[in-house]
């Protein structure tokens, strides 16, 4: 979305949106695309809203900035659409008067105000209670169906994706290591990292609560500054082979619709 901080930059490759590469676009055009075609919802529910302005005005800001008519009625209707029942009161409220779930709904309303086709949600429920999380997930699913939205849902919790996603892409150390449908990736994971990650998910297991089923992955992910020679997951991989340290694996397609970067499947 062209929002990287000044210290970071895209060095290679292209981002194709509806056939057009977004990377070389000037800031002005990107600003126009943001909100009206591609939108973003953040993890930080409190920080994403301006603390000193009423929430209704912030929603109208989005509408007005894209040269749409911004009216109070439209805003209230938008709030109702994201499940805020008390939308009249919410319109005049300040962010600190709202709960975490309500604030996230407001952010979602802002993101969808100008009818984008792609919504990127960056850990939108990570800071919320489980009950609120399930409500927001249901909301996103509903909105996605209703508006025919494309949704990119970023999270560290595979369980959430099981509910929400059609396809799952697994990232490790900045690389896409596995991609496939939800059922495939969660049911029969190919990449060792995916398998190990799923083994870390807490499950109600042994009665003595010792969580014996949990098998944490030893070590930790490589830092941003490290550039490993071979496969970045090799140091922590239980199924490591010699070739894994020599060069990074190329993506292969072991079956239809699935792609993996692992020497076990070729590459």
């Amino acid at each position: 979305m062209g929002l990287l901080p000044p210290v970071a930059g895209v060095t290679d490759g292209a981002i194709l949106f509806k056939g057009q590469d977004l990377l070389p676009l000037p800031e002005q055009e990107m600003a126009h695309i943001r909100g009206s075609q591609i939108s973003l919802v953040f993890q930080d529910t409190s920080g994403a809203l301006h603390p000193v302005r009423r929430v209704g005005a912030q929603l109208m800001d989005v509408m007005v900035s894209h040269n749409n008519e911004g009216s109070r009625d439209l805003a209230i209707r938008a709030f109702r659409e994201v499940g805020l029942a008390d939308s009249e009161r919410i319109y005049s409220a300040y962010p600190h008067q709202l709960s975490g779930g309500q604030k996230q709904r407001v952010s979602i309303a802002q993101a969808l105000a100008c009818g984008p086709e792609l919504l990127v949600a960056d850990e939108p429920t990570s800071s919320l209670d489980t009950t609120v999380q399930s409500e927001i997930l249901a909301l996103l699913k509903g909105l996605q169906k209703k508006r025919n939205l494309s949704l990119v849902f970023i999270t560290h919790d595979p369980a959430v994706l099981a509910d929400v996603a059609d396809r799952i892409a697994v990232f490790y150390a900045g690389e896409l290591v596995e991609i496939g449908t939800t059922n495939d990736v969660l049911g029969t994971p190919f990449h060792p990292f995916t398998r190990a990650l799923l083994a870390c998910m807490p499950r109600m297991g042994s009665q003595d609560g010792s969580a014996r089923h949990l098998n944490p992955i030893p070590g930790s992910a490589p830092g941003a500054m490290e550039t490993p020679l071979g496969c970045p997951f090799a140091p922590r991989c239980a199924e490591r082979m010699d070739v894994c340290n020599s060069r990074p694996p190329a993506p292969v397609q072991p079956s239809a619709g699935r792609s993996v970067r692992c020497f076990k499947y070729g590459g």
Binding site: Q133, S134, D157, A159, A162, N183, L186, A211
Partner: protein, 272 residues
């Protein structure tokens, strides 16, 4: 101590927050805890599950003697301790420890790891610098941190490592009872799993008793053999994870169970 007497017990524990609006003389009262009755047996772990605002942090703070409750009793190791102060309280502090959620603000950013971990020793007095360093090295080893990172400051550690540091600090005085308030929130799944395994091994090694406070019922069910559900300051249900998942009586519990993500999907069978 008698096997059947719980290590920690509360009786009608109540806490009311009084908030004063600065621009007027009106006062708000918020009943954070309402006659809470809990008991935790030695060597076990209780999971306290509740939504935000349910009062779970308040309960944790009261049990760790960091907050004096408005009313009710807290029994620790056969003694009523809710009104302790002075030398008695100091003694209790080495037996009951608290691990906070927000590691970044719980660890003094100006101190290095060694100082953070051994600060309780310094406060309790009667220890030499050499003894403190030895203990720091031992603890770092136990929580899985490199001993040569003793001179690093909190911001040089990752989130998971900071949590380990906080746990090391909690263990330095050899406590019996540790309260962990949302100790896993904000950690990646794999880091979370590592911390869970670490806490398990520490419990076995030191005969610890844990109170896990969390809003994640699934996590609590995985790591505790008893769970208490707190709703608006009241314990609405208690039991083993299986009881709560399959034979729950209370609508709040049902709501929490239903909210667990991934329950009706391919992950269902593995989530139990």
């Amino acid at each position: 101590m008698d096997e059947s007497t719980p290590l920690v017990r509360t009786r009608r524990l109540t806490h009311i927050y009084v908030q004063k609006q600065p621009l007027s003389n009106r006062q708000f009262t918020v009943k954070a805890l309402d006659a809470v009755e809990l008991s935790i047996r030695e060597g076990t772990q209780l999971g306290l599950v509740g939504e935000s605002g349910s009062g779970k942090s308040t309960l944790g703070l009261c049990l760790a003697l960091l907050q004096r409750p408005t009313a009710g009793e807290i029994w620790f190791d056969g003694k009523e301790v809710s009104r302790s102060h002075g030398a008695e309280l100091r003694q209790l502090r080495s037996q009951i420890q608290f691990v906070f959620q927000e590691t970044f603000s719980a660890l003094n950013p100006r101190l290095c790891a060694e100082e953070i971990v051994t600060e309780p020793m310094l406060i309790q007095g009667k220890s030499s610098p050499a003894a403190r360093r030895d203990r720091a090295v031992t603890l770092m080893h136990e929580v899985g941190l490199a001993a040569d990172s003793l001179r690093r400051r909190p911001h040089e550690f990752s989130g998971g490592q900071r949590q380990r540091l906080a746990i090391a600090r909690a263990l330095v005085m050899r406590p019996q009872f540790v309260v962990l308030d949302e100790a896993f929130t904000g950690l990646d799944l794999s880091v979370q799993a590592q911390i869970v395994v670490l806490l398990n091994s520490l419990q076995a090694a030191h005969k610890l008793t844990y109170l896990f406070i969390t809003h994640d019922l699934n996590l609590a069910a995985a790591i505790c053999n008893r769970i208490a559900i707190l709703h608006r300051g009241c314990i609405v249900e208690q039991g083993s994870p299986a009881d709560l998942f399959n034979r729950s009586q209370h609508p709040q519990t049902r709501a929490l169970v239903d909210a667990i993500p991934g329950r009706n999907t391919i992950l269902h069978t593995s989530l139990g």
